[in-house]
């Protein structure tokens, strides 16, 4: 245990700001997950691997001499089709089965993606340099990499864009209708098959954006997907489905929690603390539910 963070106020501020910026990025991935979970009732274990794949797209653009920030445009475009492809190949066969089957299927996709990425791109840890520099506050005692600010900004732009799209566009309305009641939507002439494919594609596209941002801010590696899946899963179960402000808030909360855990418990428990929090929340929710059930009795 190390409480240096509370003795130096600048460190507290640094951790909080880092956490918030990071959390916004997590929230974007979680938003994608919440969307397709809500619409299709599928928990996508391969979420993190889609993120990493999106990161590799930005990385390869960087290798070809294009600024990796353009990855936030190109990567979702490509990832949309990857997502639709996965839907057509696998997900449409499990979409109306029980949750367990879809978890198994997406778990399989996750393993496949990891190995394929390892095979195609190699096992090296890579990153794309944006050359964005750093914003320094309070006489250089708090530093915010501009790449992190950029990621948070882009995440917010995409999240808002998606909300507007969901509200205004025809497909958005169809998606919302399907989420509410797939059978009723079908009867009223919504092609749910198309809606599902588009939803999975949009989710993959959001992962693509997040991946590109991660390759600019952190590092990517074929086996690094799972922590992102776990984080987004956690954010979604805390916030609940279809609750966008909730997703944003719990994303930022998780980011700050992680940063503080990192300072206090040590970096080695960073991901561990997220897992622990997940267990605690699941237990708490179960506890709450069982109380509710007793009422019903």
């Amino acid at each position: 245990m190390d409480f240096l963070i509370f003795q130096v106020p600048m460190l507290t501020l640094q951790a909080t700001l880092d956490g918030v910026l990071l959390g916004i990025l997590f929230a974007l991935i979680a938003y994608g997950m919440a969307l397709q979970w809500g619409v299709m009732n599928i928990i996508n274990i391969a979420q993190g691997d889609l993120v990493i794949l999106g990161g590799y797209i930005a990385y390869f653009m960087y290798l070809w001499g294009i600024h990796p920030a353009w990855g936030v445009i190109v990567s979702p475009f490509i990832m949309y089709f990857v997502g639709v492809g996965i839907y057509k190949l696998v997900i449409n066969k499990v979409v109306d089965r029980d949750l367990f089957i879809s978890i198994l299927a997406t778990f399989g996709i996750s393993i496949l993606f990891m190995q394929l990425m390892n095979f195609a791109f190699g096992a090296d840890v890579v990153l794309a340099n944006s050359g964005y520099g750093t914003t320094m506050l309070f006489d250089n005692s708090v530093t915010l990499p501009n790449s992190k600010i950029f990621s948070a900004f882009i995440s917010i732009v995409f999240a808002i864009g998606l909300v507007v799209y969901m509200k205004k566009s025809k497909l958005g309305r169809a998606i919302r209708a399907t989420a509410q009641n797939a059978r009723a939507a079908k009867i009223l002439g919504v092609d749910t098959e198309k809606v599902y494919a588009a939803t999975f594609g949009i989710n993959a596209a959001l992962c693509g954006v997040a991946g590109a941002l991660i390759s600019i801010t952190f590092t990517i590696h074929p086996y690094m997907g799972l922590p992102y899946t776990i984080r987004s899963f956690m954010i979604v179960i805390v916030a609940g489905l279809g609750n966008l402000p909730g997703v944003a808030m719990s994303g930022m909360g998780l980011g700050v929690f992680e940063e503080f855990a990192d300072y206090i418990l040590g970096t080695e428990f960073r991901i561990g603390s997220v897992f622990l929090l997940l267990v605690l929340i699941l237990v708490y929710r179960r506890f709450k539910l069982s109380r509710k059930r007793e009422y019903l009795k």
């Binding site: 096992a123 840890v125 990153l127 005692s141 991660i214 590696h221 990192d262 970096t267 080695e268 991901i271």
Partner: protein, 413 residues
């Protein structure tokens, strides 16, 4: 009808058994000495696994084309059976069993990484099969009393202790304040032990002692602490991701520290991926091409690097060089033993005392190479940062450039 079937399958089983036992006991077939190796061609170690395999292959070709191995007046050639261990220790141990008990291999070359070598060593030990390994530096390999394990590389605890000595020297012989962050794997923790010993020896104080997770991609917390407490030396070891993450975030967070010492810089292609941001980092290396060791097969380091580049189209990392050296050690031992008896070869290996292009090789009773010091290089760039090079700065005997110390602060860079 049914009985016929049973008899038929029984006969075919026996035939199968016979046919496999014919190919067995293949340690020396005709004029070939068959070595076995489980190597990581897929999975998370695949890039370094390939470096290792290229190093082995390069040495096999070179030795074979320069007259092979002379044992008992006859000339033999090396051949290696490779299996892919998928970067998985369990799989590596299975494959070692298979190489020895099914393929009849009686001499082994090591896999990549300390973890996998640890998994294989008990197997080779059980069968009394001599193994020369080039990529397992963890100290724990050499304290178990293994008799058939020989490592051409210096153990992990010697990777970075030189850096602490150097920092103390630059501090006018006075103790220094050390901040360190290590991944929690066998190798990095051994590097950490080396630092702890060096700190005790010099009376230095460790003020930050962080552990890094396997899935590391953010160490901002550690670096923020470093900024707050201002140590004299920052030591980071977490394989390639540790090196890449540290350099990126040190530059982004403008962390000023007089000395930065790391491992795995060349495996991470640090100067290529980060350019000028990686400048002044000190890196531990088993080998560097500018060292002036010599042998008659590869000439010297520069020649080795040029030949390797010609064949594999990239600059050899030390992982390849040490792997090539393992074959030279085997050849030398076979010729001195003048026999293929495992016990005799083992004794000859234990008595090895030779120089290769990679360095001097002489094994301690534990199996580690005690005759080759680690070198430290520093990343140095030209003025506009378009070209960065690794220059050896310590130990002084091998230095090709002068250490730049302290590292200029970010505001002056």
């Amino acid at each position: 009808m049914k009985i016929n079937k049973i008899i038929l399958s029984f006969i075919s089983a026996i035939a199968l058994l016979l046919s496999t036992s014919v190919t067995s006991f293949a340690k020396v077939v005709g004029d070939k000495i068959v070595l076995g190796s489980a190597i990581s061609l897929t999975g998370k170690y695949s890039s370094n696994g390939v470096h290792t395999q290229n190093g082995y292959n390069m040495a096999v070709d070179r030795i074979n084309s320069m007259g092979g191995v002379k044992v008992g007046g006859k000339t033999y050639k090396f051949e290696i059976i490779y299996y892919d261990d998928e970067s998985n220790p369990k799989r590596a141990a299975q494959l070692a069993e298979r190489l020895i008990s099914q393929d009849g291999v009686e001499f082994m070359l090591g896999p990549y990484s300390s973890g996998l070598t640890k998994a294989i060593a008990p197997v080779t030990e059980k069968y009394g099969v001599p193994m020369v390994e080039a990529n397992g530096a963890s100290r724990s390999l050499f304290t178990k009393g293994y008799k058939y394990l020989f490592a051409v590389l210096a153990p992990a605890n010697l990777y970075l202790d030189v850096a602490i000595d150097l920092a103390v020297e630059k501090n006018g012989g006075k103790p220094v304040k050390i901040a360190q962050a290590f991944e929690q794997d066998a190798f990095s923790q051994d590097v950490r032990l080396g630092i702890l010993e060096a700190a005790e020896r010099t009376g230095s104080k460790i003020i930050i002692d962080d552990k890094l997770p396997k899935e590391l991609n953010d160490m901002a917390a550690t670096l923020a602490k470093v900024k707050a407490v201002k140590p004299d030396v920052l030591v980071v070891s977490g394989h390639t991701k540790g090196a890449l993450t540290a350099i990126r975030q040190i530059a982004e967070m403008k962390v000023d520290v007089p000395m930065l010492a790391m491992t795995h810089c060349d495996a991470a292609k640090l100067s290529k991926q980060h350019g000028k941001n990686s400048e002044y980092a000190l890196c531990a290396s088993q080998w560097h091409k500018t060292l002036s060791y010599k042998d008659k097969f590869f000439g010297n380091g520069m020649k080795y690097a040029a030949d390797f580049e010609k064949e594999f189209k990239y600059d050899p990392p030390y992982q390849a060089a040490e792997s090539s050296a393992a074959l030279l050690v085997f050849k030398d031992a076979f010729e001195r033993a003048n026999s293929f008896d495992k016990k005799k070869v083992r004794d000859a290996l234990a008595a090895t005392n030779m120089q290769t292009f990679y360095g001097n090789i002489k094994f301690a009773p534990g199996g580690q190479n005690v005759d080759k010091p680690m070198v430290l290089f520093q990343v140095m760039c030209n003025a506009d940062g378009s070209k960065c090079e690794n220059k050896v700065v310590a130990p002084t005997k091998w230095a090709s450039a002068k250490l730049i110390h302290p590292i200029p602060s970010w505001s002056e860079r």
